[in-house]
């Protein structure tokens, strides 16, 4: 899809406490980045209760909004509203296998080649790796891995928890986009292909009209290194499109969790995540 999309994205999340919370310290990673496939025109994060926030860019380049809430509060709400223009990347000619396996590149991207506890895989899941590695280029290889995971691991909301590992999702053959992404990353890394986790949004409507407001989703997919970082979405079986909006990158989910924090007080339940996307042009 070479179409250029303009979108306004509202991402609302938070926690309800079974009582009161205080001394709450948080980091939100909910601000899209300006990249070669998207331009962020504006972005705002609002926190309730209202407190001052500060922003910085983390090791992986993701914009982080940090804040703390000292007063007691029954619920925490964080809302990010961003105006983004997005277009699809063209698929570049990939580097050859020998270049990709050169000392220089394997060292440069070493941290996207090593397994993390989230992405590590053992056993039969890797049976077909040797076959994929014989494919003509890394794009085909990534597609094969992505298709394999999409075929084998069913998308079942609620099948896993947010702390699930790739191996757990594989063993159940069920998971959500986060799990499917972790399994795909695990396979790519096992083949020596640098792979990273992408956190972002997906505009689901295939033919959105201007001013349509649709329910989007907080989404995760994969980028692998082929000479440039190249996106692929194993959950939907597509390459990264203009409907994929990137918030941040990491080795796995833990590096780019949209909202992480600690607090004192009663147990909490996650407010449903709401992502609304309106096409603006």
């Amino acid at each position: 899809m070479s179409e250029r999309l303009g979108m306004s994205i509202r991402h609302h999340t938070g926690f309800n406490y079974d009582g009161l919370a205080k001394a709450s310290y948080n980091e939100a990673r909910m601000t899209p980045r300006s990249l070669s496939t998207q331009l962020v025109q504006s972005s705002k994060i609002a926190v309730r209760p209202v407190v001052p926030v500060s922003t910085h860019t983390d090791y992986f380049g993701t914009v982080v909004t940090a804040f703390d809430i000292q007063e007691t509060h029954p619920r925490l709400e964080v809302e990010a509203v961003s105006q983004v223009e997005s277009w699809a990347a063209t698929l570049e000619q990939p580097l050859g296998w020998s270049d990709l396996r050169s000392q220089r590149l394997t060292d440069r991207y070493s941290e996207f080649l090593l397994p993390t506890h989230r992405t590590a895989l053992v056993g039969t899941v890797k049976d077909e790796i040797a076959e994929w590695q014989r494919l003509a280029d890394v794009h085909q290889c990534a597609e094969a891995a992505s298709e394999f995971v999409r075929r084998e691991v069913s998308y079942v909301p609620g099948a896993t928890t947010v702390s699930a590992t790739a191996q757990e999702a594989w063993d159940r053959r069920k998971g959500v986009c986060q799990d499917i992404t972790h399994v795909t990353i695990g396979l790519l890394r096992a083949m020596g292909v640098p792979a990273r986790y992408v956190s972002g949004y997906l505009f689901p409507n295939l033919e959105p009209e201007v001013d349509d407001v649709v329910e989007g989703e907080s989404h995760a997919w994969v980028e692998y290194y082929s000479g440039t970082w190249t996106g692929i979405d194993p959950t939907n079986g597509v390459r990264e499109t203009s409907r994929h909006i990137i918030v941040g990158h990491g080795r796995d989910y833990d590096d780019v969790a949209p909202l992480k924090g600690i607090y004192q007080g009663a147990a909490s339940t996650q407010l449903g995540v709401v992502v609304e996307i309106r096409r603006t042009r």
Partner: protein
């Protein structure tokens, strides 16, 4: 004629610090030897007991196998000459400046990788590489306010570096207490020798912490952050806080609000600008590291990132203590400083190289194998002393995870006559000098902590492994200019601060309704 104490012969084959040959004291020790010979063995026993009592009375203890023990102080001091000390101190200062440059580089531009001098994977594969430290720029450039560099003297009398400790090195309180106890028990020895004092350490540390403060803090408030009374080094935290005249706090005494840190006091809250922390990174901030910590301060890392507080030593310094990184320090000195290393490493083998690994694995009994992230002597296997079963287990462990180990040539650590039982016998020793970096100068406390392995033939000297220590003397010689003579930063005129750099900028905005 009175019979002095008996000095047992040294059959270890190691360098003996006191004797160049049986019955032939090195010149620097002649005076001490004749002083000690004036004591009867029984008198020495009494003095030795007196030293132990002083320590128990003052609470100079450490935790060993789950119980509190005094750290045994041997009554025979170790002596270093002015010339030798000058060379050591310059070597240590050089090493610390190189490690500072390395930390600044790996948490910044990564020049060393671009130049191909070190694989990036060496850093990214380390459990100590702290991505949360990225983008935290210390105001005066100092991440290593305090370092403890462990040195050993080899069979040929050369000092070499065994490991660097730039996270939260401990032991300086023993240096101060050892001297205090020795001057009480053996005042006569000090009137016969001109020994550099060690009690200037706390004021040097204070000056360095003051110099490290955020530029906008006009009257910086410094605290010592301790994990609390159950920590093995609690005594040291108390001593340093008291001698610097600053508050000793625990995590629960501090609170972060909007990236500023405050100390809870009986008179309300007080802003804090420099935290000399003795809490490991892992336990320092539950938002960034272990969420289950109860000894940390939530939000303190982002407060440091915002430039409102300085965490000293810096977070992420552990990467420089990784023993695989240690093997590169001589290269850091050449690369970052353009200098020739003044101190050598102990000969060390990197096991990520397949050929080296094969050679080491085929003859493990010839090497000392250390975990890259060990401290306190934990996990070290001394090949020549290991059993077959230990070597088999080690072979398996190293082959499975070569990045986690290094191999070193076994060094027969030098020996020093040490009072054991009722005689004086050679025991292996090392040396941990302490250095303080105030951003203008690296000052090395004259002497440092000499640790002694009290069992005959033992090579592991750590207090956590039942070692003892010795008062360590650096003799004054007016013909040698002494580095310690430089006035501390607080007494010197201050430079204007450099203009802010790009990455000093820090957005701060009001939350939207």
């Amino acid at each position: 004629m009175r019979m002095g104490v008996v000095f047992e012969g040294d059959a270890s084959g190691a360098w003996n610090e006191m004797f160049s040959a049986p019955g032939q004291p090195r010149p620097i020790y002649e005076r001490l030897l004749s002083d000690l010979n004036a004591y009867q063995p029984q008198e020495l026993r009494q003095r030795s007991d007196q030293l132990a009592r002083t320590f128990i009375d003052r609470g100079v203890t450490f935790a060993h196998s789950g119980e509190e023990r005094p750290f045994p102080l041997d009554l025979v001091p170790r002596i270093l000459g002015a010339l030798e000390w000058d060379r050591l101190a310059r070597g240590i200062a050089q090493r610390i400046l190189a490690l500072e440059a390395f930390l600044d580089d790996v948490y910044g531009a990564g020049r060393i990788f671009d130049e191909g001098l070190m694989p990036r994977a060496t850093v990214t594969s380390s459990s100590y590489y702290c991505r949360a430290a990225f983008g935290i720029t210390p105001p005066n450039g100092v991440r290593i306010a305090v370092a403890g560099i462990d040195l050993v003297r080899d069979e040929h009398g050369n000092f070499c570096v065994l490991e660097d400790n730039v996270r939260i090195p401990s032991g300086v309180s023993y240096v101060i207490e050892n001297r205090r106890a020795m001057t009480q028990a053996f005042s006569a020895l000090f009137s016969d020798h001109r020994v550099h004092p060690v009690d200037g350490y706390p004021s040097r540390l204070f000056a360095a912490l003051l110099a490290a403060a955020p530029r906008k803090a006009t009257e910086p408030v410094i605290v010592v952050l301790s994990p609390g009374v159950h920590n093995a080094a609690y005594f040291e935290h108390v001593l340093l806080a008291r001698m610097m005249g600053v508050e000793l706090v625990e995590g629960r005494d501090l609170v972060c609000r909007s990236n500023h840190v405050y100390m809870r006091t009986t008179n309300g809250e007080r802003a804090v600008h420099v935290i000399y922390r003795r809490v490991d990174d892992d336990w320092l901030d539950p938002l960034q590291f272990r969420p289950d910590t109860v000894i940390g301060v939530a939000g303190v890392v982002n407060a440091a990132r915002a430039g409102n507080v300085v965490i000293s030593n810096g977070i992420g310094n552990g990467i420089a203590d990784d023993k695989l990184i240690y093997t590169y320090v001589p290269e850091f000195i050449r690369f970052y400083l353009g200098e020739k290393p003044l101190l050598d490493n102990v000969t060390t083998y990197r096991l990520d190289d397949a050929e080296v690994r094969a050679e080491v694995l085929s003859s493990l009994a010839k090497y000392v194998i250390k975990p890259v992230d060990g401290s306190g002597g934990k996990g070290i296997v001394i090949g020549p002393q290991a059993t077959k079963a230990e070597l088999r287990a080690l072979h398996k462990a190293v082959a499975a995870a070569p990045r986690d180990y290094i191999a070193q040539r076994p060094v027969a650590l030098s020996t020093h006559p040490t009072f054991v039982g009722d005689s004086i016998a050679p025991r292996h020793i090392d040396l941990r000098p302490f250095a303080v970096n105030d951003g203008d100068d690296v000052w090395v406390l004259p002497g440092g902590l000499t640790r002694v392995a009290l069992g005959e033939g033992d090579l592991i000297v750590n207090s956590s492994r039942g070692g003892g220590s010795k008062d360590t003397w650096v003799l004054n010689d007016e013909s040698i200019p002494f580095r310690g003579a430089v006035p501390p930063a607080s007494a010197r005129s201050r430079r204007y601060p450099p203009p802010p750099r790009q990455n000093d900028e820090y957005a701060f905005q009001q939350g939207e309704q």
